[in-house]
Assembly symmetry: C2
Homo-oligomer: 295 residues x 2
DNA sequence: TTATCATATAAATTTTATTAATAGTAAAAC
DNA sequence: GTTTTACTATTAATAAAATTTATATGATAA
């Protein structure tokens, strides 16, 4: 059996059209016919129903079931390809979401430098949500990921190692600045500056809104935490942010949330279960975990 | 790329000998040489070091890393093959460990009969530990599995639905029969009849022994619960058994365990995440879950 | 030195995949 | 009710690929 045939098969399940698949792979149409015949013979199953009357190719239950496995197979091979491409580079492709990269990671870099690990790191920045997908696809080796729930993803090993609260930040001019804490439900009337979809802040914020059943008054949405803070300082609105992103010395007032059920900003270290750890990777993980525990 | 090449590759990682692999697949030795060359070219990586001086073929880090993925791929295809072979039989191959099959399952059969589901069931009996492996390999469609911890296996969906205690059972003649409950640590001097390795009872029992740091006096080991009970009735020894396997009407006395930290006998319904559920499968799962909740 | 073991190479052969050309079939368009 | 169009299947020819046979190479062991 040939991988190529599996690729043809998968595309056929997707497009349900032999000619289109042929064109897609720049081969002749009979090539696809033959490939599918080979696969149907190999698995001894009818995978498609060629019913010309209904003007669409039907995929059988067997066809869909096989496709589940074929997808897994093709992904596995693609992942292997990407991994092997990197394996001899002595560099570890390390995913670092912006907030973690700005406010948490710098505190670990001295330790990494001491161990001579920094030069083996190649960081890649994107939102935590994308990160998990990139890990799964093999486009990353290792990643720090922020989440609201502990990461439970088959194929991924995740070590939860930091747990932060969310806070409300306001300008010193804001009436709330006199308080030390506040309940989210008392913020119905406030104007909010919020972070973009890619941030889990967004998800946590929506959760809160849903919990208290109110529609927040969002005056501005940004993907830049500095912009968000600048606007809060100008008292344009208040914001919802992890405590990690609010160093003490800033001209901002942060209020604890008193709500009994509240989400947390979790930081985990994640990698694929079948990613083989070389000595550099081992050292890196150990150092990251140790540093996380020292704080 | 050909699946055959991947099979050759995997065996070569295993045996580290070209000629042996060739013999294994009944092909000539150059076939393997060529196959490996193709794969090394495809992945653009050195996978083996042919160092004749050390008299053994060395597998590189890349080689091992690739093998991780190759194993996954080969398993996925083998699973697909088995699944598709069964898919048109309208039968669901249903794994049922002996204890669950004898003491729990019969209580659900009336509901299954009412729904006309029994005729679609083909049950297969083996220990819970094997069951998970068989599911993963695609040799089973669905299984009831006993475990001490909730099942957390990537690729497997498991619904925990029953939770039983473990008990100590003794003959009415036994001194302990006058008690209602007992702590495991007070059983050091007893003679035990225990179940075989395949049973999770065995694991739970060992856990207890380890916890209290004692070496149990095991007078007989069996894989048959009836034999175990018969021997307990004869007062040959006492036993450690789930409450589910001790119906009230038997001439046995069961004692609760008072230990604060004790394992539980969990029953879960499990299937592969990418096992597509047809209407029969859906109905079956719904019925099983409903019945479990009714008790 | 010779024998032995393990892998590589090369040419010939076999097997398999692909193509070009064409046929078949049903629905849509004229 | 032909003709066109859109899809898929079939066939023979061709191209590509994997496999074999025979042999070479290189290293250790006898």
């Amino acid at each position: 059996m040939n991988i190529k045939d599996l690729k043809y098969f998968h595309q056929l399940v997707k497009y349900k059209n032999f000619s289109k698949v042929a064109a897609d792979f720049s081969v002749s149409q009979p090539t696809i016919t033959m490939a599918i015949k080979r696969i149907e013979k190999q698995f001894n199953s009818r995978l498609f129903i060629r019913d010309q009357s209904h003007h669409e190719l039907q995929v059988t239950a067997s066809g869909y079931q096989l496709d589940e496995h074929v997808q897994q197979v093709l992904n596995e091979l693609a992942t292997a390809q990407k991994e092997l491409k990197r394996i001899n580079s002595t560099k570890v492709l390390f995913g670092l979401p912006p907030i973690i990269g700005t406010y948490y990671f710098p505190s670990i870099t001295p330790a990494l430098l001491r161990q001579g690990l920094m030069k083996h790191l190649e960081t890649f920045e994107t939102g935590s949500k994308d990160m998990l997908q990139l890990l799964l696809k093999g486009s990353l080796d290792l990643a720090l990921i922020a989440s609201l729930q502990p990461i439970e993803q088959h194929q991924i090993t995740a070590q939860l190692f930091r747990n932060y609260n969310f806070k409300i930040i306001v300008s010193p001019q804001h009436p709330l600045a006199r308080q030390k804490e506040v309940s989210f439900k008392d913020l119905v009337a406030e104007h909010f500056i919020v972070l973009d979809e890619g941030f889990i802040h967004n998800t946590a914020f929506k959760q809160f809104c849903q919990q208290y059943d109110f529609k927040p008054n969002i005056v501005y949405q940004t993907s830049d935490v500095h912009v968000l803070k600048a606007m809060v300082k100008e008292n344009v609105g208040i914001a919802f942010l992890t405590e990690i992103a609010v160093p003490a010395n800033e001209e901002l007032v942060s209020l604890a949330l008193t709500d009994p059920q509240q989400p947390h900003f979790l930081i985990s270290l994640a990698y694929r279960k079948n990613y083989r750890l070389g000595s550099i990777q081992q050292q890196l993980i150990t150092t990251l975990v140790e540093e996380a525990q020292n704080k």
